[in-house]
Symmetry: C2
């Protein structure tokens, strides 16, 4: 697994599309303490603007390409920035499809300088075949009615409130942004399919009985492209608690016209049924309701309705945080 | 995708473990017309023994390493045989983990001679992300209560009887042995996990309305290591008909102590429920009952019981063939 060294200098590229720096924005939000600056123009996250050399003098260890683009390639006009960071002695972390090590100038510079190139989507060491053997410790997994409903955000919000509540807890990242935020993890959707469950067993191994892993889920059992990843993740996680993530107002599965978002009851029942294979004690712990589309003013009413219907805490993590769930975890209702 | 050229010369290695040549045995059973000989000692499949040069003179186009071993590496004492085949102008097909192209002498010899090296587990071209878009044509998928219950064998038996019955039909291979038998296919368990469903959509594309694909299933929704592969395959297949494969007398999931084989009703219901996501018209077409453990003398009684219980034809393909199912497919009962 990767082990990225903080502090980070976040690279924002040279374009003006704010969606492209979503990953950097996530890192700055969830790990502000390790983000000492940003580099690139014209976009900004409000961090101090620093060139790599200056950032290195301030202690920055890793230059993070917290960007996405449609091709997945490393654009030519980033190479000078990357080479500058390597020259300043920094490691480089990359979540794009193209490998840093496939760009000859970058590979040579890193070899010469002795700095590390972290291609998040590619290098994560060897992972085992799943065993299904029960593990000690407790695990929470965020699952969803679809992709991009807030599974990573919810897991991070839960970790934050559990840490504040004195729990012994770790966030376990399964996607690129999560890995850059946590500094470690396994991109489960990039693993060979025979190893999905095994990679998750490896990611969140047996632990002390009072230790909690909060695992970032991926996809949905009801997404016709990615459900295999979601099921392998569900089996490998052996979760004690599932948090169902849903976007209020979404009608169709993302990029899959004609596929309706599943009924919430059916989605919860199906996830619990499939999860019971590797942990018969699994239960629904909460519903995380993303109210972006319907507007925050409706959040309280909608959450109250779902709490009534499913007898479980319901919250929008961006509006309410996850305290409602964490409080009940600490002191379960009779 | 691979496109292996027949006829084949089957390589049986130099060991005396009959289990190691299971793949070659499968090829000789299901595609006798393309197996012109065998090479290696002391094991035999009863085919004419031929050295590569002689086989090439008889028209053999591909030297097939239809063997497995525990390490997945190409043993040193096979290299001379492989080089001899290349020297005779034959392609080489390999289902082991190690790539032929990673053995320098073999790679160089093939380059010099201009022959192809088919590493079945590795090269299958780029595969797309699943779309879930409904496809024309009809598809049958073999699913199972576990691994190694007869999903490939059943699919091949069904293809054989459908061909005999005048159907327009193709067997679609998803594992190494199946690919060597069919001469083409995609090893679904070796695909990056994000692409499982997409690779199966690619493997059995839209076809004429009277065309049938018989797709080889993998794993089981109830196997804690491999269920992700099985679910992606189920979604990508968009099967009209499922055939549930089961081994009578098996108590536990293979290599997973403590995991009981699922209840047949539950396994059928769960497969149908999950399959409906991409094809709402999916139905159970038959049960394939592997009677190896309980003995062939019990097959008729056990099959009759399951036919009564599930109102679907039940057969052991090794004992009965698949005619019972195929007859009903041609002339469904009122």
């Amino acid at each position: 697994m990767h082990d990225l060294q903080g502090p980070y200098l976040l690279f924002l590229g040279h374009e003006d599309n704010p969606l492209a720096i979503k990953t950097s924005r996530g890192i700055a939000q969830w790990r502000p303490e390790i983000c000492i600056g940003e580099h690139g123009n014209p976009l900004t996250l409000g961090l101090p603007k620093m060139r790599p050399e200056e950032a290195a003098q301030h202690g920055a260890k890793t230059f993070v390409l917290g960007l996405t683009n449609t091709t997945g390639d490393i654009p030519e006009n980033w190479q000078q920035d990357i080479l500058e960071a390597i020259d300043a002695g920094m490691d480089v972390a990359n979540g794009l499809h193209q490998r840093l090590s496939d760009v000859e100038e970058i590979r040579k510079a890193a070899e010469t300088k002795g700095t590390a190139l972290h291609d998040i989507r590619h290098q994560f060491g060897s992972v085992p075949i799943g065993t299904g053997v029960a593990r000690s410790g407790k695990r929470i997994l965020t699952v969803g009615t679809d992709c991009s409903v807030g599974k990573m955000y919810t897991a991070l919000a839960v970790e934050k409130d559990m840490t504040a509540g004195g729990f012994n807890v770790d966030f376990r990242a399964t996607g690129q942004t999560g890995i850059l935020i946590a500094g470690t993890g396994i991109p489960v959707d990039a693993v060979i399919s025979d190893y999905i469950a095994g990679s998750v067993e490896h990611l969140c191994p047996a632990a002390a009985e009072n230790h909690w892993d909060v695992i970032e889920g991926q996809g949905s059992l009801f997404n016709p492209a990615y459900a295999g990843v979601s099921l392998g993740l569900l089996h490998g996680a052996q979760a004690d608690v599932l948090i169902m993530c849903h976007e209020a107002g979404r009608k169709e599965i993302k990029d899959k016209p004609g596929y309706p978002v599943p009924d919430l009851q059916d989605c919860i029942d199906t996830n619990l049924k499939m999860a019971r294979l590797t942990n018969p004690r699994v239960r629904l712990g909460a519903i995380s309701l993303n109210c972006r589309l319907v507007g925050p003013e409706k959040a309280d009413t909608l959450c109250a309705e779902l709490e009534e219907r499913f007898a479980a805490p319901c919250f929008d993590p961006m509006i309410h945080g996850a305290a409602k769930f964490v409080d009940e975890l600490a002191c379960p209702a009779a």
